[in-house]
């Protein structure tokens, strides 16, 4: 057991300040353990959002020494023994109190995305698809919605373009639907015009902070941007479609997914 100093931001939308706490830390302890100890021993009203404490629910997102992290998966021993550990709420979302922010904006974005609509099952009533084809989307479905990617995305964080851009989490959600072999909804025009795929400048911070190690940028955002290019920016592809009389949106709706 040894003592460590934590600098925790306390306050609400009106204002607040950093408060220092000295906490006994033991082997294997994570940041969330230290916050719980502060709650139990020093400040029972310290507001922290958490649920599973095993990195599976994505509730305890906060910023530790300036980096967006899940506090339940951040070991205290990862920091130099003498270092003061600064704990702050997420920057991108409005604060409720202490380390808890109002992330409801994210839930609103999810509602805007047209849901999955599968094509009709085969004659035996079963849907078939192959593991090799779903590997890609299964990666995206690992997302625990901790919204760390949303927090770190500078488009939302610093430029506050929440009106224009749904953020990496939801571009990835779109990717998981668009790449689904059985889906029949065309979301590409909306992805460009309403969800703002062009606002992302692929600076990759979303991928860097993802606690599930999902390769958001390379596997979800860029392939989605490329699909937008197919539809709207590639003159050759557009001309070819025109000559052949192809309509990708209709083809998809008819279940003719390439």
């Amino acid at each position: 057991m040894s003592k460590r100093t934590f600098r925790v931001w306390r306050g609400d939308a009106e204002g607040g300040r950093f408060v220092e706490y000295n906490v006994e830390v033991g082997p294997g302890m994570v940041i969330l353990d230290a916050l719980h100890r502060i709650q139990a021993e020093q400040s029972p009203d310290l507001a922290v959002r958490w649920n599973c404490k095993a990195g599976k629910c994505g509730s305890c997102s906060m910023e530790v020494n300036g980096k967006p992290r899940l506090s339940c998966m951040t070991r205290i021993s990862d920091y130099e023994p003498e270092q003061i550990i600064t704990v702050q709420p997420l920057k991108t979302f409005p604060i409720i109190r202490d380390l808890v922010t109002d992330v409801s904006w994210n839930f609103e974005q999810n509602k805007r995305i047209p849901p999955f609509r599968p094509k009709a099952p085969g004659p035996d009533g079963k849907l078939r698809m192959w593991q090799e084809d779903v590997d890609r989307i299964q990666e995206f479905r690992k997302c625990i919605e901790c919204f760390l990617c949303q927090d770190v995305c500078h488009v939302l964080r610093d430029h506050e373009k929440k009106q224009n851009f749904v953020g990496p989490r939801f571009i990835m959600r779109i990717a998981s639907l668009e790449m689904h072999p059985l889906d029949t909804v065309d979301r590409i025009p909306q992805t460009l015009r309403e969800f703002g795929s062009g606002w992302c400048n692929i600076t990759r911070c979303c991928t860097e902070v993802c606690p599930e190690h999902i390769n958001i940028t390379d596997n979800a955002i860029i392939p989605t941007k490329e699909r937008v290019v197919d539809r709207f920016y590639d003159p050759v592809a557009m001309l070819t479609r025109k000559i052949r009389g192809e309509d990708p949106a209709r083809a998809r709706e008819e279940g003719k997914v390439p």
Partner: protein, 286 residues
């Protein structure tokens, strides 16, 4: 760093505002220096219009050779150029821009460097690199950058980035040309042999291929755009195999980007030094 006004949540505002306590600025600084060094060297080397040829080696910055100026020292024989010597009017352009090297405009490199440059400029990796280290949007994760509120992403001026795949088409042609040059570098006066330069040129072609075939647009075009990459029955298909191979390269796209960038510069430098007679190429011919 600028003054950090502590606001709600303890987050600062303004350029450079962050609570990060690690050395976050090292990454973008190194990228800035690395890219700048290459740009400076490539511009200088490209504008020389000379010492790019050391039989049988040809600098990748000058390939393919469209026109040559046979009067330049260290230039390739005229029969190596696709279209012979530079037209006379072209060579006269050089005098119009004082202060630049003698053959700054009538250099064979001027005609072709634009293609690999565009490929790298619109590359999804380099975009990250220079948006961070040059444009500072943002300089690092969770560090506030510039243009607060004025940022428009790739929605307006930068829409051209969407044409990356066309730059890719040219880059693929260049891979063929550079591979051909690499093969040619093993033959001097029709005689097979091996020199350090041949190996340097071969490595260059390989690294560029690794970079080009790991391109995000390539990955999309060869399979990623499809949702059914496997054949019916889940059997492996060409699409899927190609896509998997590309995915493997793509996972290290940044590494390939830097290695190939460095090696292009190094290949030019090596051939230039041999051509200038500063160093002697070890080979089986002499």
């Amino acid at each position: 760093m600028s003054d950090q006004l502590v606001q709600i949540g303890g987050h600062g505002r303004g350029f450079g505002a962050t609570t990060r306590s690690d050395n976050w600025w090292i990454g973008p600084t190194l990228t800035f220096l690395g890219l700048s060094a290459f740009i400076v060297y490539a511009s200088w080397a490209g504008m020389q219009g000379a010492y790019y040829w050391a039989d049988p080696y040809l600098s990748p910055m000058y390939a393919p050779l469209l026109f040559v100026d046979p009067t330049a020292p260290g230039s390739a024989p005229v029969d190596h150029a696709w279209f012979g010597t530079f037209p006379a009017w072209w060579s006269k352009l050089d005098g119009l821009l004082p202060g630049l090297p003698k053959r700054a405009l009538s250099t064979p490199a001027a005609l072709i460097l634009i293609f690999p440059a565009t490929f790298r400029l619109t590359c999804y990796y380099y975009r990250k690199a220079y948006y961070r280290s040059f444009a500072l949007t943002p300089p690092a994760c969770a560090v506030e950058g510039v243009r607060r509120g004025k940022y428009r992403g790739e929605t307006h001026l930068l829409l051209f980035q969407n044409l990356h795949r066309f730059a890719l088409y040219f880059a693929l042609v260049f891979i063929v040309i550079l591979a051909y040059d690499a093969v040619v570098s093993f033959f001097k006066d029709g005689q097979f042999g091996v020199g350090v330069g041949s190996i340097v040129q071969t490595v260059n072609a390989i690294l560029l291929a690794g970079y080009t075939f790991g391109c995000h647009s390539f990955r999309h075009l060869i399979g990623g755009r499809k949702n059914w990459m496997t054949c019916d029955g889940g059997k492996a298909s060409t699409h899927h195999r190609l896509w998997l191979g590309c995915t493997r390269l793509n996972g290290r796209h940044m590494l390939w980007a830097w290695m190939s960038l460095f090696w292009v510069g190094f290949t030019d430098f090596y051939i230039r030094m041999v051509s200038m007679g500063v160093i002697t190429d070890l080979n089986t011919w002499d």
